[in-house]
Amino acid sequence: MEIFEFIVTLLLVVTLLRISISGRLEVYIKMLSLQGLLLFSLVFFTVSHESYVTLAVAIIETLLLKAIFVPFYLNKVIKENNIKRETEPYVPHIFSLLMVSLGIGLSLAAAFYMKQEIPEVKIVLLGSGIAMILCGMFVILSRKKIITHVMGYCVLENGIFLLSLSAAKELPVIVSLGVALDAFIWVLLAGLLVRVIRTELKSQSIDELKGLKN
């Protein structure tokens, strides 16, 4: 099972790199759904499920929510508010690629450093989880359009989910169900907010959202 895990995490890291390069929203959404699929495969194969309930929750959470619903909903939001496709980042793509890869290298190094301290943690999953968190944060911090912030946050969510998998301890069912429910409501609310901001403030980028300063 080690090799399978390794391949999946490798693919996840590749999706991260793809996100950091591209400037177009469709690519972001495709990558998000791909990550959802990969996470589903990881959960489905590696984690040994005693009862069917935990298996069902895992499926719902990864396959239904992350792979299918979130990309579909984001597409609908982009079409409704006919948001321009360009993501207008603060920094050129090359620099963001450099940053993300640096992030990945650092997080893997940190994971190996932590190997001696906490033996029974799956190091590869831990490293890539931290990498996804860093990349999600970087996407939020370096893009101007608020819809890309939502996507950045989803990448962050996936990173944290990966982290919980690396702990190799099964979260109680209610907690993982709750986490899935929260992610779901969060995306709904973000979509609603984006639409309302679009109607009220007639803008899509963070510049109009600077009114409240001292």
Partner: protein
């Protein structure tokens, strides 16, 4: 816990169903009454387990006194806000938003339910889930006026808090490693050799829940959210939400008691506490909007609570939390009255309140003196206890603490005197407030003063809980 959850779900549905604003606020009032009753019974039950109410509350498991104490504070605040809310929608500036009353009342009841769960549930995972849920529900409330500023505030509030709480979840995962799978706070055991995982988990947890509690380096959402939200919501946010976010940190710290990690945890808490005092000292004297000033004073008081936690000074922490919640809720309700009387939030445009409405001016004077930590109110006792603890642990920090408090006092005093004294910027208005607008404020201040008397009578320096 189930009673609280069930109650809030039923009432939220009811509120959603009734379209008229009056009926929505009446439902909210009834919900608040029930909420107060059950939390009092819970408190009595947790202090004296075998007492009479145990029979009454079959569904109420025995919770530790700390959670029921925080719940009691929250339910008193909810009661005051609900009473104020009955008159809130009748005011002239709320008329254009009456059509949004069902969503408003449903989400406010849901928000309170989520907070109850966050306080009462034992499992750290569930606590995280419900804090995330309360963030989302309160986002709807802040966007109630959907003006440019309030939308921006909501966006920032949702985003920064969710990122913060996501970090908290990462902390929980690391904690999971250390306690090999058991997340139940009451029965959690940290085994000795996995201390490193806990050491990594602590910063994530403290900073994660710290964003939600408004501690310093991650507090930036608090002034915007609390000053743009409608009055009852901002009172609720700053009086009860901040406490419920601070509670998980307290319970985790209780866990790391014996393991030699508490110096490390108190180091982080002390830095965050003093940073928030510095932030308050920077922004309060230069505040241009009195609701922002009150929000910064919430940041300051949360900083004091963090310092009390860092010093492990339990009585100071408990008194200060209760005092701050009551007085801050009263102050935000007064600010709401000032807003509806003067129509503007800027300190420049509000002056000579003594000439317009003497009662409100004196209430505002007393409220600001109370939050400054002057005598007839609880904050004086807690500040005395915290200064005593600080003095014994580190003299330099004590001096810094006093200097920063003086700066905050200077800022609050100057702004308050500017608003209360001087020629009135408003024409001679005979603005009449209904009892629902004034009574909750007076009762909250009276509770604070009465508990000051009780503290005096009982003597603070023996341990309380």
């Amino acid at each position: 816990m189930i009673t609280f959850g069930g109650m809030s779900l039923i009432f939220a549905a009811l509120a959603w169903f009734f379209k008229k604003a009056e009926s929505g606020s009446r439902i909210f009032f009834v919900f608040a009454l029930l909420h107060l009753l059950s939390s009092i019974m819970l408190m009595v039950n947790s202090l004296f387990p075998s007492s009479c109410c145990a029979a009454w509350l079959p569904l109420m498991p025995h919770t530790n006194p700390l959670c029921s104490y925080v719940l009691l504070i929250e339910s008193v605040v909810v009661m005051a806000v609900a009473w104020y809310n009955t008159d809130f929608f009748m005011r002239h500036e709320e008329i254009p938003y009456r059509h949004k009353s069902p969503i408003y009342h449903a989400s406010i009841i849901g928000f309170i339910g989520a907070m109850d769960f966050a306080i009462l549930s034992d499992n750290l995972g569930m606590v995280w889930v419900f804090i995330e849920l309360s963030t989302l529900l309160s986002a709807l409330l802040i966007a109630h006026h959907n003006s440019a500023h309030s939308l921006e505030a909501t966006w920032k509030y949702v985003f920064i808090c969710s990122v913060g709480i996501a970090f908290a979840f990462a902390g929980i995962v690391f904690l999971l490693i250390a306690t090999d799978g058991n997340l139940d706070l009451t029965t959690m055991q940290l085994d000795r050799n996995k201390l490193f995982a806990v050491k990594i988990a602590l910063p994530f947890l403290i900073i994660g829940f710290g964003t939600k509690a408004g501690l310093a380096p991650v507090h930036n959402w608090l002034p915007d959210a609390h000053s743009e939200a409608p009055t009852p919501v901002s009172a609720l946010l700053s009086a009860s939400l901040l406490n419920s976010a601070l509670l998980p940190i307290v319970r985790i710290l209780q866990l790391t008691g014996g393991t030699g990690l508490e110096n490390f945890a108190s180091a982080i808490l002390l830095t965050m506490g003093f940073l928030s005092l510095i932030v308050a000292a920077i922004f309060i004297p230069h505040a241009y909007n009195y609701k922002r000033m009150l929000a910064y004073s919430s940041v300051e008081n949360m900083g004091i609570l963090a310092i009390a936690l860092g010093l492990n000074c339990q009585s100071g922490f408990l008194i200060h939390m209760a005092g701050h919640s009551f007085i801050k809720c009263a102050l935000f309700l007064i600010a709401g009255n000032i807003l509806s009387m003067y129509g503007s939030k800027l300190i420049k445009e509000v002056s000579g309140m003594v000439r317009i409405h003497k009662g409100l001016a004196y209430l505002y004077l007393v409220g600001i003196l109370a939050i400054m930590g002057f005598v007839p109110f609880m904050l004086f006792v807690s500040e005395f206890v915290i200064i005593a603890a600080l003095f014994n642990s580190n003299k330099f920090l004590c001096v810094l603490f006093i200097i920063l408090l003086t700066f905050v006092m200077y800022g609050l005093g100057r702004n308050m005197l500017k608003m209360v004294r001087g020629k009135s910027s408003l024409y001679k208005s005979d603005y009449r407030f209904k009892t629902a607008a004034i009574a909750p404020i007076v009762i909250l201040l009276l509770i604070a003063a009465a508990s000051f008397g009780a503290m005096m009578y009982r003597g603070v320096f023996e341990n309380i809980l």
